[in-house]
Every structure is written in C-alpha cells, then in structure tokens.
C-alpha cells in the first residue's frame, strides 16, 4: 500500500462506526485479531505482535501508550527505541487508516479500497477474509452462528427447502440473550439472522439489539417485504455485513410467480433501494429456477441499478425433511447451463489467473466441507445443527448448552475426519475444482451425505467445460 506523503503519528486515533473487532488467543498462545468495517467492506486479519498491538489500541480506545509499552517490552531496537517504536507504529496505523479501519481526527478518510475487478477464488494464502475462517477452523473456535429466528414466512416460494410444518415454538428474547452470550463466550464474532422470514418476528428489532449488546457482527437474509421504517433505522444502526434478499427474477411477474405473493417484487426492490440509501450493503440472492433462469442476465443489471451485489445459485436442494418437490425447479437444459456458467459471476480467478489454468487440484486430504468447522446453526426452536444445510441435529438449546455441544459432540471428530478421498466418485473427478459439493444437500436428497447427488456432478461438469474453454482464449493482460 503506498504511503501517504508526510504521514505522521497523530495524537490518537478513533474507530469508525460499523467496526467489529475481536482478538483471540489460542491454546498454544498464538494471537490473532479479526477486524471488519462493514460500511467500506474492508477488513484485516492480524497475527502475533500485530494482533497484540491492535488489541492494545482498540482496548485503549485509540490511545497509543499501551501499544508503545508493548512494543518497547517485546521488540528488539537499536539506537532510540522510543523513536523507532513510534516509527513502526506510524506505519502500522497508516496502513489501517488507508484501509479505513481507523480514523484520524481532523484528517479526512482516504477513498474506499479498490474493489477487486475479478472474482477471486479460494486463495487462502492471499486473502485475509479466508484466513480468518481457516484460523477459526484450525483452532476449533465457534466464530459464526447462523440463527433461523423463525420458520414462519409470508412468501410461499415454489422451491423452498423448509417443510410444510413451519409453526415451531420459537426461542424467546431472554433465551436468545442467553444463546448469544454463550456464543460470544465461545469466540462468537459473526451472526446471520435468517428464517423463514426473519421480519415476521415482531421482536426483530429487539433481537438486533441483543446482537449489538453482545458485540456481534450481523448479516441478515430476508425477503424485506415486511420492512418498516423503524426496522430500517435499526438495521442501518446495526451496520450489518450485508443484507441479502432473494430476488428470483428482474421481471416482477416471474418473481411473484415464485414467491406466490403478488406485489412481492416491488416491495423487495423498494426495500433494497431504501437500505442502500441508508448505506447498508445489499446482495441480491438469486436461486435460478427453470422458469426464471432464461432471464438471468437481467439480475446483474438490476443489482447494478440498485447499487448492490448479486449471487447466482443453481444448487436447488431437496427439502430439509427429504421432500423432493423443489427438484422439479432445477435448470436441466445443458445449453442454458453453459450460458449461465459463462457469466462473469462464474469466472473465478486466483491472483488474476483463470482458475482453469491452475495446476493445483483439490487435495485428496481436503475436508468434505466446512460444516461445523467454525460455527453452528440454530433453528427457531433451538435445534443445534452443524450447518443450516446439514440436517443432523446435535441437541437443542437451552436444554443442551452450546458450549457442551461445541466441546464434546462426536460430530466434529467424525465428520471432520472425512476426506475427499473417502468419497469414491469425487476423488478422481476432473471437475472437482468446479464442484459446489454440499453434503447437506446430498443428505436431504437421498439420506447419505457421503454420496453426491447426480445434479451436483451435472453442474460441476457444465462449469468446468465452460471455464476450460475460456481459459484457452485467456490473454494475461487482455
């Protein structure tokens, strides 16, 4: 990162609204700090001395002395230790300031970091956002929670993965308070509030307040059709990492045909626009269905108009209870699949190099997936699962404590020990690099999370074919 001219150490720094941070110390004494600033979509992953110094700055509310004391006590210095330590600290703070993670009173913030021009794929060595997940998994830290606040929903989407029985008892606010406290004590940092439709809960604002109380970084998934003015303010004030909204088509009539709720498109899009006006990062989540997929090109255009991002998804799964009705909505047309996989969304790069040109292949010793690796999923009634997509209940909160399950459940040992090489059709598959494998989806479809669903292989094959064809024509500076 280029140094600003004449950058000098200010008297102190402050931390911007929407900054979430936590510092971890592992059982073997390693330290790491996770820092996210959601309004600018900027983040940092700091290790060892960097983490210790960041933590001292953060805990001291931007005062330098505790950080300088640490540096003088732990560093090796020549000549003038105080001056050298201040020089190192100046460079450290300048870097964080450039990344928008700290503010300097009376100096305007730099422009936001450049957004990557290409979608980068699984480059753990280069991407601090991925390193956070890897660190949490390696140290078995319960870092993320997916919380399905309710299974009730005002839409009736034709492909919904939830079974018909949606009126389960739901955790109360005091129970949610306890849940989040326990999650935070385990290392909790991020929480996704989803449903059902999470806004049908009349206490949604109170849930957000609890998220804030426990200093968790929220994300929200909602159809937003029930968004009221007071909730808009509460969401903006919570500085979520993102608000995801299912938009099935840029054509209102097609979207509403999926949700079976007339007028839902207009309501969702209006809400997305308002959230953007409040500075909330939004993402259009678009499962592509047989009826909507032919018009997929209109989704990126709509996202650009709204100032949001988008996420296409072809992996329509069976219902959680094994019901297969959603599968009829899948896109099966090979020509259409190839067309969709030729979109920018599916062009993935590693350090600006097309993925198809890489020599690296997934290791046969790779994990099957990340279910339970660094977090848990909680259903409306407190059912604890390793992942929202893997319906293997491990217990039920509050009867079963999150801590006990996180520390003692045999799931982590058993599932975590499964390797790609254990999955017969996968280990020699040439398309594995493009496989969005999801053992939870396989389990829902046929009851065996070790056996791929044929549709997974269809998608991987179509994606691989498209990307290999593209790699042949790739010009490094083109």
């Amino acid at each position: 990162m280029p140094r600003a001219q004449n950058f000098t150490l200010p008297p102190r720094i402050t931390f911007p609204a929407g900054l979430f941070s936590r510092t971890y110390t592992t059982t073997d004494g390693k330290r790491a700090s996770v820092v996210y600033h959601t309004p600018s979509q900027s983040m940092a992953f700091l290790e060892d001395d960097s983490a210790s110094i960041w933590d001292r700055l953060y805990q001291a509310d931007g005062q330098f002395q505790p950080a300088l004391d640490y540096m003088l006590a732990h560093g090796t210095w020549e000549g003038n230790p105080e001056q050298e330590a201040r020089t190192v600290l100046t460079g450290f703070i300048e870097h964080l300031w450039q990344a928008q993670l700290v503010r300097i009173p009376s100096i305007a913030s730099p422009s936001r970091p450049d957004k990557p021009s290409k979608r980068q794929a699984y480059d753990v060595a280069q991407d601090p956002d991925l390193q956070v997940g890897q660190f949490m998994a390696d140290n078995h830290i319960c870092h993320g929670l997916v919380f399905e606040t309710t299974y009730r929903c005002n839409e009736r989407c034709v492909h919904c993965y939830l079974p018909g029985q949606t009126h389960l008892p739901e955790l109360t606010l005091p129970q949610i308070d306890d849940l989040l406290a326990e999650f935070a004590s385990l290392g909790g940092f991020s929480i996704l509030l989803t449903g059902g439709e999470t806004l049908v809960r009349r206490d949604f604002k109170d849930i957000l307040a609890l998220v804030k109380k426990h200093r968790l970084m929220p994300s929200i998934v909602s159809n937003l059709t029930l968004l009221q003015d007071d909730v808009i303010e509460a969401i903006a004030d919570a500085h979520p990492k993102s608000v995801g909204c299912s938009i099935y088509s840029a054509r209102p009539e097609l979207h509403d045909a999926v949700t079976c709720l007339p007028g839902s498109f207009e309501k969702s899009v209006r809400a997305l626009r308002i959230l953007r006006e409040h500075g909330v990062p939004v993402i259009l989540k678009t499962p592509l269905l047989k009826a909507t997929a032919p018009h997929w090109r209109e989704i990126p255009e709509l996202a650009a108009k709204l100032g949001g991002e988008y996420q296409l998804d072809l992996s329509i799964t069976a219902k959680n209870d094994g019901g297969l009705s959603p599968l009829a909505q899948r896109v099966e047309d090979p020509v259409l699949l190839r067309e969709i996989f030729s979109s920018e969304f599916y062009h993935l790069y590693v350090r600006d190099e097309p993925m198809a040109q890489l020599a690296a292949k997934p290791s046969p010793d790779a994990s099957l997936c990340g279910a339970g690796a660094a977090g848990l999923s909680i259903g409306p009634d407190g059912t604890i699962r390793p992942c929202i997509g893997l319906n293997l209940p491990m217990g039920r909160f509050p009867k079963d404590s999150l801590t006990k399950i996180w520390r003692e459940s045999p799931f982590f040992q058993e599932f975590g020990s499964i390797r790609l090489k254990d999955i017969t059709p996968c280990r020699d598959c040439a398309d594995l690099m493009y496989c969005s494998r999801c053992p939870g989806a396989w389990h829902a479809e046929h009851g065996d999370f070790r056996r791929p669903a044929a549709y997974t292989c269809t998608l991987a094959g179509a994606w691989a074919e498209t990307q290999r064809a593209r790699a042949l024509t790739f010009q490094p500076n083109g």
Binding site: Y122, V124, A137, K285, G389
Partner: protein, 34 residues
C-alpha cells in the same frame, strides 16, 4: 519489530448462510492442494 498487516476488500455473500458454492456458511473455503 516488524508488523505484518493484511487488509483487503471482502466480497459480500461469502458468509451469508448459503452453503453452496465454494464457501460454506461459516466462510471456510475448501482447502486446496498445495
């Protein structure tokens, strides 16, 4: 003392609860061969 600061712009949707794609609900990317 050298301080190593790794910062980046992060992509939305990577840890949004969707279990599909290259990342899981918890943001873990499948470990690649090295």
């Amino acid at each position: 003392m050298k301080l190593n600061v790794k910062t980046s712009y992060y992509m939305l949707g990577a840890s949004c609860g969707c279990t599909k794609g290259f990342q899981t609900s918890c943001g873990i990317t499948y470990r690649m061969g090295s």
